[in-house]
Symmetry: C2
Subunit: 205 residues, 2 copies
């Protein structure tokens, strides 16, 4: 569903190589079915038809493979959120859609690909690079919507942009951070609408 988008980190050997993609594909499949822990590097090697040692020509560790898969998951979420934001023009509506899409994407991952969710979760716990990019993306998206809204006159302009951005980021955190999300699943129905409304009230000029 996702072609490896960018090498990013912890790659090794030929960057653009068919076998690398095969490994990623096999890993995605195996991790999704059996989970990260239960999948051995030998399993992946067998799946792509090469020896275990060959895997290590492309990835410097099993975790590096996990990070790649994790990055793909997070990329997918980012793409969906971006699409939701771009689908409308009004900044308040952008903000509502953003939070809605964010929650929906995360929940889908949680309920439909629990095993992959666990990887993302431990990635967040270990502060893997991909999760930092993800957090940055969220914060940047918020900031951009705020700037748009301030230009259009939809949002107040007194509070420093960084402060507002940071505060909204904090509020949204339990909706997109896997570690927090799993402890508030019971509130995920009401959260997006309640929170957007409150945030938007706080932004009124």
């Amino acid at each position: 569903m996702n072609k490896t988008p960018a090498p990013k980190v912890s790659a090794r050997g030929p960057v653009d190589h068919e076998v690398r993609d095969q490994i990623v594909a096999a890993a995605t499949e195996h991790f999704r079915f059996y989970g990260y822990e239960k999948t051995t590097v030998s399993d992946l090697a067998r799946a792509v038809g090469f020896s275990k040692a060959y895997i290590y020509k492309f990835f410097e560790s099993k975790q590096a493979i996990g990070e790649m898969i994790c990055a793909n998951c997070l990329d997918e979420i980012q793409t969906e959120v971006k699409a939701a934001i771009d689908a409308v023009d009004s900044p308040p509506e952008k903000l509502r859609r953003m939070l809605k899409a964010l929650v929906e994407s995360c929940l889908r991952l949680f309920f439909q690909d629990r095993r992959l969710y666990e990887i993302v979760s431990s990635a967040a716990s270990g502060r893997w690079p991909a999760t930092l990019v993800y957090e940055d993306f969220i914060e940047q998206s918020i900031r951009e919507i705020l700037q748009l809204g301030r230009q259009s006159g939809d949002f107040e302009r007194k509070t420093p942009l960084d402060e507002t951005t940071r505060a909204i980021h904090l509020i949204m955190r339990p909706c997109f951070n896997p570690l927090l999300l799993q402890h508030g699943l019971d509130t995920t129905d009401e959260a997006p609408v309640l929170l957007s409304s409150l945030i938007l009230r706080s932004l009124s000029p």
Copy 2:
């Protein structure tokens, strides 16, 4: 530091009995030092000078003892928060103080009594009664402050009280729920002030 305030749940045998208090005291001490898991019921029995079987005349399980200790921790937090709220008159300031006190109390528990924090944490995870009372207390406190602020004209009155209450509760959640708190320790400095400010902006008439 806390005399067993109310029997509440899962008690057994004589409700008001010296030995019960001794058990609670011993349990608090042991749990604080060695943690819930590492403390055996026999340890507690030895500490109070009776046999293990006698412990079970007062508590129906080891977990029931844990719940008692947990309830005491949460009671302490509630007392502190209540004091912080009552210390000032202006509703906006009440709200600021409430969140500040909440975060400080929780962090103190986390950093100074890690072992007890773990109990509270697993209590939240297992939805033990004491944590439900705690959550109710938070929500009720928010609601009361909101009502006061609406009467005094400090807060807007258009949004349904329940909706605002719920939304603020959701926002504060990562600050007082042990399961969420431990994943956002890096943001606990800025969180109270940023969040209070945003919330108060959203409440302006």
